[in-house]
């Protein structure tokens, strides 16, 4: 049981400098100080917040090792509050991952390596990154959490798996470039993400923290719009614009229990049925003659 059911979260809707890790780390320190002053207990930075997004060949030189000295500085950010930040991780076998790291009380608690690497349209991630191979939840001081990085949420199974692990919140750091201009007041991408995040929160009866970056890289704009959504699908806090901002929200973690009492969707989920059916689909696919 969670003793104190209130949680103050902060989303750092920031504009990282492209390929300048030292400058970005300093900016992380500033945001952490500002958030701590505001009483934030869980602070989320966007995807690749330490490096910027469209790195191309800068991926290798922007990377850090989980065993390296930079990790000491990152751990240090979380002395007073929990911190989720984005970095390029180089493994000992020299594979590079687009990763999101969860730190608490000066320790690394969890690493999520982005599984779905968009490589279409304006995206080229598989050229530079290796893909992660798992979706795992982890325990925090505020209940069970899972991380999905940007494109991960465009695959239903990712959030579904975390949900069946029993997460209270899904954290989604993002670097989503804006596109799709119509007569609407918002970009097509902003509309789509709003729809997806709210759908997940409501269908999976979980808090959903979406932290998107802002700024421009090589002409592409990042639209911000960071939002905190409750387990009933309601938006608790949202930054409407694409300015740098610390988005604050106070969550009542008891909302998850109350929502699941009212809407026991998770209780009624048929995991074994799902697995059996997926296994059948896989079997039939592999049996095709050509």
């Amino acid at each position: 049981m969670i003793k104190d059911s209130r949680l103050a979260v902060g989303l750092v809707q920031m504009d990282p400098a492209l390929g300048d890790r030292a400058r970005n780390l300093e900016r992380h320190r500033q945001w952490v100080r500002q958030a701590a002053t505001a009483g934030v207990e869980l602070l989320v930075f966007p995807e690749l917040s330490l490096t910027g997004y469209f790195l191309k060949d800068l991926v290798a030189e922007s990377a850090i090792s989980l065993q390296g000295t930079v990790m000491d500085e990152l751990r240090g950010l979380s002395d007073g509050l929990d911190v989720v930040l984005g970095a390029v991780i180089e493994e000992p076998d020299h594979r590079y991952f687009n990763a999101s790291l969860y730190f608490s009380r000066g320790e690394l608690v969890h690493v999520h390596r982005k599984v779905y690497l968009p490589t279409y349209g304006m995206f080229d991630e598989q050229r530079y990154f290796a893909g992660g191979d798992r979706f795992r939840s982890f325990k925090t001081g505020f209940g069970r959490a899972g991380i999905l990085v940007c494109e991960d949420i465009w695959h239903l199974s990712s959030a579904y798996i975390l949900s069946l692990e029993g997460v209270d919140m899904i954290i989604c750091p993002s670097a989503s470039p804006g596109r799709g201009v119509t007569t609407d007041e918002r970009l097509g991408t902003a509309e789509s993400y709003g729809l997806v995040c709210r759908t997940y929160a409501q269908f999976l009866t979980t808090f959903f923290l979406y932290c998107n970056r802002v700024g421009y890289e090589d002409g592409a704009n990042f639209w911000g719009g960071s939002m905190v959504i409750g387990p009933n699908g309601d938006i608790i806090a949202q930054q409407e614009d694409a300015d740098e901002a610390l988005v604050l929200a106070n969550l009542d973690l008891g909302d998850v229990r109350r929502e699941r009492l009212a809407n026991p969707l998770l209780r009624d989920e048929r995991l074994e049925l799902t697995i059996n059916e997926l296994r059948r689909v896989l079997h039939e696919r592999t049996r095709k003659p050509f």
Partner: protein
């Protein structure tokens, strides 16, 4: 001469834009991409047409009127109305301006080639203007800001290393009919938005006459072809004439070279832009 643009005639629905949203993104683009590389100012050629008037307006909002230098560069056969339209924009925005008559330098060159045709002269003028803008960019410590819209970039209706040359281009992803919508919304004088588009190499020249089609028609076709990736068969089913489709596709294909850096003969394992790939905003 084609009919003037009628603002009362609404744009093709899929190409209608929310001007406020687009304005915000483009003003942010100019401010961000100029300042983060250490500049405060931009310089652009102001023709009196809608594209450069729009860019000047966006730049003035992004950087402040004092940080926008426009250069008006008429040739002796340019329509005098172009200059007065350009000056109207300068006055309205309170931006800086310079006027340089390019006739002497153009005429000095073509004295060697008196038989040069209009197209050759037009290209030379476009490159002469580019050369002036880059010289002023050095004097003024300003980035050259481009004004080519998506329609003309796709059709190749511009001069490579002439009017197509710039450091940043805020309107290169807007079709011509979208430029009209945005220009109207941000307060570019209506007379400029509504006049027939022209390269103004001589009085009375018209883009639409030269291209052979109206921008409204071209943009509709480009929307289905480029944005939606319709096949030729599907375009015909929509009712576009086959000759029109073929002509536009040919222009897009034949002018691809203008939209790319020069080809480099590959020898090493990391050839620039092919496998030596860095963002231009490297370190910013």
């Amino acid at each position: 001469m084609s009919a003037p643009v009628s603002l009362s005639e609404p744009a093709f629905p899929p190409l209608r834009i929310n001007p406020e949203l687009v304005r915000r993104i483009l003003v942010g683009f100019i401010s961000n991409e100029v300042r983060k590389v250490g500049f405060e100012r931009v310089v652009l050629g102001l023709s009196g047409g809608v594209d450069s008037s729009l860019v000047a307006t966006l730049a003035a909002e992004a950087l402040g009127a004092d940080n926008v230098l426009t250069v008006i560069m008429p040739y002796k056969t340019s329509d005098p109305k172009s200059k007065s339209d350009a000056l109207q924009v300068v006055q309205q925005l309170g931006i800086q301006h310079l006027e340089i008559d390019i006739s002497p330098q153009i005429d000095a060159y073509f004295a060697h080639f008196p038989d040069a045709d209009q197209k050759r002269r037009g290209n030379k003028m476009a490159r002469e203007r580019m050369s002036i803008l880059y010289d002023q960019s050095w004097v003024w410590r300003a980035l050259v800001i481009g004004t080519s819209n998506k329609t003309e970039l796709l059709l190749g209706y511009g001069t490579i290393y002439g009017d197509m040359a710039s450091a940043i281009n805020p309107v290169g992803d807007l079709y011509k009919t979208q430029v009209w919508q945005l220009a109207d919304a941000v307060g570019v004088p209506t007379s400029i938005v509504q006049k027939a588009p022209s390269a103004d190499l001589w009085a009375g020249q018209s883009d639409e006459t030269e291209l052979g089609f109206q921008y409204r028609m071209i943009d509709q076709l480009l929307y289905y072809l480029v944005e939606r990736r319709y096949s030729v068969e599907e375009l015909k089913q929509l009712g576009f004439e086959e000759a029109f489709i073929d002509d536009i596709i040919r222009r897009v294909r034949e002018n691809q070279y203008k939209r790319r850096l020069p080809l480099i003969a590959k020898l090493t394992s990391r050839t620039i832009d092919r496998d030596f790939r860095y963002p231009r905003d490297w370190g910013h």
